[in-house]
Symmetry: C2
Subunit: 141 residues, 2 copies
């Protein structure tokens, strides 16, 4: 079992952030984590993303649980953060909203060009998450 | 809308990791993200953790959705990663299992001493997540 650093830098304060600041922070980082339910179990998957207007766009493996869910506009969560464990500073943003597959070929092609997959897995489905609910905080001292 | 870096470093391969390696990676980082359901909506929250045997131990705000869930041994997910967006390397680990409140005072006190909260919020509840299902991967080239 690991233990915390011996030097306690003191507790940080959590400052709530507004919607626009949250979306700007999200747009400034290349990846985050999508959370959804698969066979009644919660799942979290790191993926890279684009922020386009009030939506978060990600790529998914065709036939994956996430891609199947989006055919029924299931609500998912998308979280990104930039946290420094040593100094206990940074931020976290959480977007909650309906996910849907992008089916228009021209639109899917545009996002495929902008959103380069990290791995050699087939992630040709493009999923758009509506930023229906956006919350976030910054840790400060 | 931001775009990807102009230089494409090439796709990485995903190598699946075994349970013991996943738990060792998780034990080597100070924080991760817990995923659960609150009022039928998925939630992801960054928290710091300890790995103790086959369990992940975190602190929670008393009365929080997460703390209430754990009174019924709800299944939650815990994810941690160390990913380099530029080089597309790193790893991600996901633990899925039942979460339960630690109620024995001596045990809770021990974990409170080991697991120092990052913020000044009251996070006096100690939650143990059983590592019933452990999966993970490493990105490599």
């Amino acid at each position: 079992m690991q233990s915390e650093p011996a030097v306690d830098v003191g507790a940080a304060r959590m400052i709530e952030l507004g919607r626009e600041e949250c979306l700007a922070l999200l747009a400034g980082v290349p990846f985050g984590r999508v959370g959804f339910t698969r066979q009644a179990l919660p799942v979290i998957r790191p993926v890279n993303h684009l922020v386009d207007g009030g939506t978060v766009v990600i790529r998914m493996h065709p036939g994956s649980a996430m891609a199947r869910h989006t055919t029924v506009d299931e609500v998912v969560v998308y979280e990104a953060d930039d946290l420094d464990a040593r100094g206990r500073t940074g931020w976290s943003v959480m977007v909650t909203g309906r996910a849907s597959l992008i089916t228009a070929p021209w639109e899917a092609a545009r996002y495929r060009a902008l959103l380069v997959p990290w791995t050699d897995r087939d992630v040709d489905e493009i999923v758009r998450i509506q930023a229906d609910l956006v919350t976030g905080y910054r840790l400060t001292r």
